[in-house]
C-alpha cells in the first residue's frame, strides 16, 4: 500500500512535469484527485488495513495529495505566466510611430510677449489702462509737453487723419487720459499696452508696432524707485542675473530722462555679436515725469513726483526669440507663427 502510494506520487509528478497546456493540467487533476481519481481509489483500500495502520497510511495519503496539489498549482502558475508573457510579446508596438495629432493653434509671439510683460507688472501691483489708437493732437502731443513746433510731431513721423487727429505715435496719451480719470486718487500705478504708429518701414522699424508704457505717480517717487522697478522687470523677463544701466537721454515728457540697457542675455556682459561687443542691450526709455505732464494730468506737480517708462514689444520679442528682422512679425507666414 505504501509502495503503491509512492509510485502513484512519482507517476503524477512525472505527468505534471510534461504538461504544456492548462487543459491538460485539469485532466490530470481529475485523474489523480477527482472523485473517481486514482488517489481517491487508493483510499477505498484503507478498509483492508489494520486499525493501527490506518491513521499512518491515512497520513501518507494526505501527504501525497498535498504534494500533487501543490505541484499542480505551481505548474498552473507557471503556465499562466508563460501564456501572459507570450500574449504581451505579441502585443508589442513600434513606439517610434508618431503620436496622434492634436490640432494646436498658436497665439502670436507679440501677444505672448505682451502678456508676459503685462503679467510681470501685474505682479508688481500695476493695473492695465487702455485708450484710443486714433488720438487727438492734444493727448498725443500737447498734454505730453510736446508743443506745436516740436520736431517729434513733424508730418514725416506721424500719420495724420486731420490736422487735429492722428494715429497715436506712442501709448503715452493713455497716461494722460488715465490720470484725468483717476485724479486725485493715489498712487497712480499703471501700464498702457497697445498698438502705435509711426512713419518708418525697414528691418528694425514697422509703421505699426506695439508698446507697453508704465506710469507711477505718488508722494516721494524717485529715480531710484524707477531703477528698482526696471531691474525687477529685466530680471523677470531676461533672467535673474541681469543688470541694468541708465544712460541720460531726452524725452519731452520726462526730466531727467534715461535710456535703459540690460546686460546682454547672450554673453552675460562680456561682449558678443548681439550686443555689438558692448555687453549691454538697449531695451527701453524712461524718466521722471515732467512737472508739466503731471499738471496736464491734473496732479499737483509740487507735491507729487512720478516716473514713466516705455518699451517696444517687438524689440523685446526679437531679443527673446532671436528674430533679426521685424518684418517677420507682420508677415504672418504660418511657418513663422507655428514656431511659437
Amino acid at each position: 500500500m505504501e509502495q503503491e502510494l509512492a509510485a502513484l506520487q512519482l507517476e503524477a509528478e512525472a505527468a505534471i512535469a510534461q504538461i504544456t497546456l492548462l487543459e491538460g493540467l485539469n485532466e490530470l487533476r481529475v485523474k489523480y484527485l477527482g472523485k473517481k481519481g486514482l488517489l481517491t481509489a487508493s483510499l477505498r483500500n484503507m478498509g483492508a488495513l489494520s486499525a493501527e495502520e490506518r491513521p499512518r497510511v491515512g497520513q501518507i495519503v494526505n501527504t501525497v495529495r498535498d504534494v500533487i496539489e501543490s505541484q499542480l498549482a505551481a505548474k498552473e502558475e507557471q503556465l499562466r505566466l508563460a501564456a501572459l508573457a507570450s500574449r504581451l510579446a505579441q502585443e508589442t508596438i513600434d513606439v517610434t510611430l508618431p503620436g496622434r495629432t492634436f490640432i494646436k493653434g498658436n497665439v502670436h509671439p507679440l501677444s505672448q510677449v505682451q502678456e508676459e510683460i503685462e503679467q510681470i507688472f501685474l505682479g508688481m501691483g500695476f493695473t492695465i489702462a487702455e485708450g484710443p489708437e486714433i488720438e487727438t493732437d492734444y493727448y498725443n502731443f500737447e498734454a505730453l509737453n510736446i508743443p506745436k513746433d516740436h520736431p517729434a510731431r513733424e508730418m514725416q513721423d506721424s500719420f495724420y487723419i486731420t490736422e487735429e487727429i492722428l494715429l497715436r505715435t506712442h501709448t503715452s496719451p493713455v497716461q494722460i487720459r488715465a490720470m484725468e480719470k483717476l485724479v486725485p486718487s493715489l498712487p497712480v500705478k499703471l501700464i498702457c499696452p497697445g498698438k502705435v504708429f509711426r512713419k518708418d518701414d525697414d528691418a528694425t522699424h514697422s509703421p505699426m508696432f506695439h508698446q507697453v508704457e508704465g506710469l507711477v505717480v505718488d508722494k516721494g517717487i524717485s529715480l531710484a524707485d524707477l531703477k528698482g522697478i526696471l531691474l525687477e522687470f529685466a530680471r523677470q523677463m531676461f533672467g535673474p542675473e541681469r543688470q541694468i544701466r541708465l544712460r541720460p537721454s531726452f524725452f519731452p515728457f520726462t526730466e531727467p530722462s534715461a535710456e535703459v540697457d540690460v546686460s546682454c542675455m547672450l554673453c552675460g556682459g562680456s561682449g558678443c555679436r548681439i550686443c555689438k561687443g558692448s555687453g549691454w542691450i538697449e531695451i527701453l526709455g524712461s524718466g521722471m515725469v515732467h512737472p508739466n505732464v503731471l499738471k496736464m494730468g491734473g496732479y499737483d506737480s509740487e507735491e507729487l513726483t512720478g516716473f514713466a517708462f516705455g518699451m517696444g514689444v517687438e524689440r523685446i520679442a526679437m531679443l527673446k526669440y532671436g528674430i533679426d528682422d521685424m518684418r517677420y512679425l507682420y508677415d504672418n507666414d504660418l511657418r513663422f507663427l507655428k514656431q511659437f
Binding site: T127, G228, E255
Partner: protein, 811 residues
Amino acid sequence: MRVAYKWLKELVDVSLPPEELAEKMTMAGIAVEKVENLAQSLDRVCVGQITGMEHHPDADKLWICQVDVGTETRQIVTGAQNVQTGDKLPVAMDGAHLPNGVEIKPAKLRGVPSNGMLCSTGELNLDPQDWSERSQNGILILPEDAQVGQPFAEYLGVDEYVLELELYPNRADCLGMINVAREVAAIAGGALHLPAWANGIEPQLPAGEVATKVTIATPALCRRYAAMLIEDVKIGESPLWMKQRLTAAGMRPISNLVDITNYVMLEMGQPLHAFDVAKLAGNQIIVRPAQPGETIVTLDNVTRTLDAEMLVIADQDSPVAIAGVMGGLNSEVTADTRSILIESAHFLGSSVRRTSRKLGLRSEASQRFEKGVNAANLVAVLGRVATLVEQLGIGRAVGPVLDSYPEPLAPVALELHTAKVNALLGLNLKDEQIESTLARLDFAMHWAEAGKLVVQIPPYRADLVVEVDLIEEVARLHGFDKIGTTLPRGVTTLGKRSREQGLKLAAKKSMAASGFTEVINFSFSSPKALERLKLVEEHIWRRQIKVLNPLRDELSVMRTTLLPGLLETAARNVSRRNLDLTLFEQGYVYLPTDPQMLSLPDEIYEIAGLACGTVPKTWNQAQVTQDFFFVKGALQSLFTDLGINNYSFISVKDIPFMHPGRTANIMIRGKVAGFMGELHPEVVEAYALPGNTYVFVLDGPALFAAAEGKVKFSPVPRFPAVTRDIALLVDETVTVEKIYRSIRKVGKELLREVRLFDVYQGQQVPKGKKSLAFTLNYQSGERTLTDEEVTKLHETIKATLDKEFGAELRQ
C-alpha cells in the same frame, strides 16, 4: 555733429583716448554714436621717393622702380607712365588695405619681385581735382614738401578720429565745437582754452563806411539780425588746415570765404550767410514774409515759388535769400565781388523748419536754425569771422556792426533746492556736492540760503528752463550709476486685469486651443481691400477713414473690419504653399462718428477667423477637410470659455460675399453679434484660395456684454440615467434646432441631455427627406426613474415630433 578729436583737444585738455572719451560722454548724456578712425584705411601707406627706374626686361610698359620709403628702399614694379626719378608719391606696403578695397601683398610681375604699390588718387579715394596736373592720369605725384617716410595719413592731416554725436533735440548747443568742448570739460575734466569771442566778447572793428540799412519787419520770426561789412575781398583757396577740419567735419571746402562761414558755424553753431553788397538794390536788408507767389532763384539755380508763411531777406526790390534756408543767385558772392555783408541772425526754428520742408531744402544751416541758435552771441561770432578774414588775408572787416535786436533776451536764473534734488533722484547729496557738480559746467551761482542755490543759465543753454532741468544736469554729471535701486513705498496696490481685458485674453487662448493661429495685420489697409467682397455702396465697411499722409497707397485707410486682412494673409500664405490654414485675429476696427472727422472715430473690438484646406491624413487618422461645423464648433467652444450661454446660429442668405446656403448669423441675447459660414465661391476665387473657405466675424462688445463668466456648480447625479434613442425621417428643410426645441419642451427637467448622433440623406431615404438619430438621456436628481415613466415620456416626445414635423419614426 562730427567732432574732430584733434580739434577738440585744442579747445579743452583731454587726456582720454577717443574711444574712452566717447563712452564717458555717452554715459553723461552726450551720446556718441560711433568713433571713426579716419586714418584706418591709410595704415601702411607712406610717402616714398623714386630713386631709380629701369624698363622691365620682358614688358615694355612696366617700370622697375627703386623707392625710398624712409627706413629702406623697396623695389616696386609699376605700369604707370607718369612717374620719373625723384618724384615723391604715396606707397602702399604689404599689409595695407586701401580705401578702395585693394589689399597689398608681395608679388612678382612677369618674374620681377614687387614689394608694394604706387597709388593713384582713385586707389586712395581722393578727389583728383585737388592734386597737380601730373597726377591726373596715373600715380598721385606729391608736392616737393612731402617728407619721405611720413605716414600718408599724417601727411594728409587725416590722422584723426571723429566722434559722431547723436544729439537729442534739446542739445542744439552741441552743434558747435565750443559748446562740445564745454561739455567735455564738465564730463571728463580738463581745462578749457576758449577764445574771448566764445564768451560773447564783441569785436572792436576799424570804422568804415557801412551804408546798408537793416529792417526787421516781423520780429516774431527774426529775433535778431546782425551783419558785418568786409571790404577789399579777394576770393581764393583756404589753407590746408582749414580744409582738413572742414573735411573731417563732413563739409566740402569751397572757397576761402565760404569756408570761413562754414568753419565758424562748426565752431559756434551759428550759421552765416554772405551777400555781395553791390548787388543789394537800395543797399537795403529787409527781413519780411514773402509775398504769395513771389519767386527767387536759389544758389542751386532752381526757381522757387514762395508763400506768405516763408521768411525772406529782401533788398529794396526782391528777395535775395530764403531766411535760414538758402541764398539767392542774385546776391551771390563771385570772383568779382569786392564788398561782402556777412549775416549772423536768429530766425525762429519752427518757421525755418516749415519752409525747408515745403521747399525740400535742408542744409547744415537750416538744421541749426531749426534746433535753435544762440541769439546772444551773434555779434561776437562776427568778430570771429573778422579775425579769420584778416588772418587768411581775404579782406578787411570794418565797423560798425549792424545789429537789430528789438527785444533782447533777459538773463535766466533758476532756483535749485537740495531737498528736491535728493527726493527726485533718490540720493543724499549735500549742498557742497551739488555745487561742485554744477560748477563743472562753469555756471555762475550762489546760495540764496542753505539748501537753495540760484544758478545763472548762460544763453547757450536754452534747454535749461525749469528746476528739473537742472536736477537732470546734477544727475547726469553725478552719474546715473551712483543712484541706487529701491522700490516705491506707499499703499499696496493690486495688479489685475479688468473684466474685458481678461475676456480678450481668454478669447485668444480659446481660439488657439481650438486649433486657430493668431495673426496680427496692420490696422491700415488698401482702399481697395473691400473691392473683392462685392459690398453694396452704402455698406458700413465702406466708411474707411483716410490717412492724410500714408506710407504708401496699400496702407492709406483705416480698417473697418478684420476680414480683408485675414483674406490677404491667407492668400499670401497660399501663394507660399501654406495651404492648410486656421487663422484668427483680434483687434480694433475704426468707424467714423462724423463725416468731417471733427471727433474721434469709434474703435470697435473685433474677433475674426478663417479656415481652409485640411487637417492632413496621418498613419492613424484620416484626412479631415475643414467645414462649416469645424468653425462652428470652435465658436461654440469660445462661447463656453467666455461664459456665453444665450446664443444661436440662424441661417442668413443676403451677405454678398458669403455662400447663401451656408452662412449663419450669430445671435447673442437676441441680437446679431456676428456671422460665420462659407465664403462665396467667387470671393474664394478672387483671393485665389485653394478651395472652400470658412470665415467668421464677431463683434467684441456684444460678446463681452453677454459673457457671464460664471460657473455654477450643480450636484453630480446620484441616480442612474436611462438612455433611449430616436431615429426619425423629416423633410430636409426642417432644422435640427427646431427638433431640439420640441424635444426639450416635452422632456423638461427629466431629459438631461439630447445629442444628435447621425444625419443621413441618400439611398434608403426618400428624396427631399433626411434621417436624423438622437440619443436622449433621462435622469432625475431625486430618485431612480422607473422604466414605465421613461417609456411614457419618450413616447410622448415621439408623438410630439410626429405631430409637429410629420416625422416618420424609424426603428
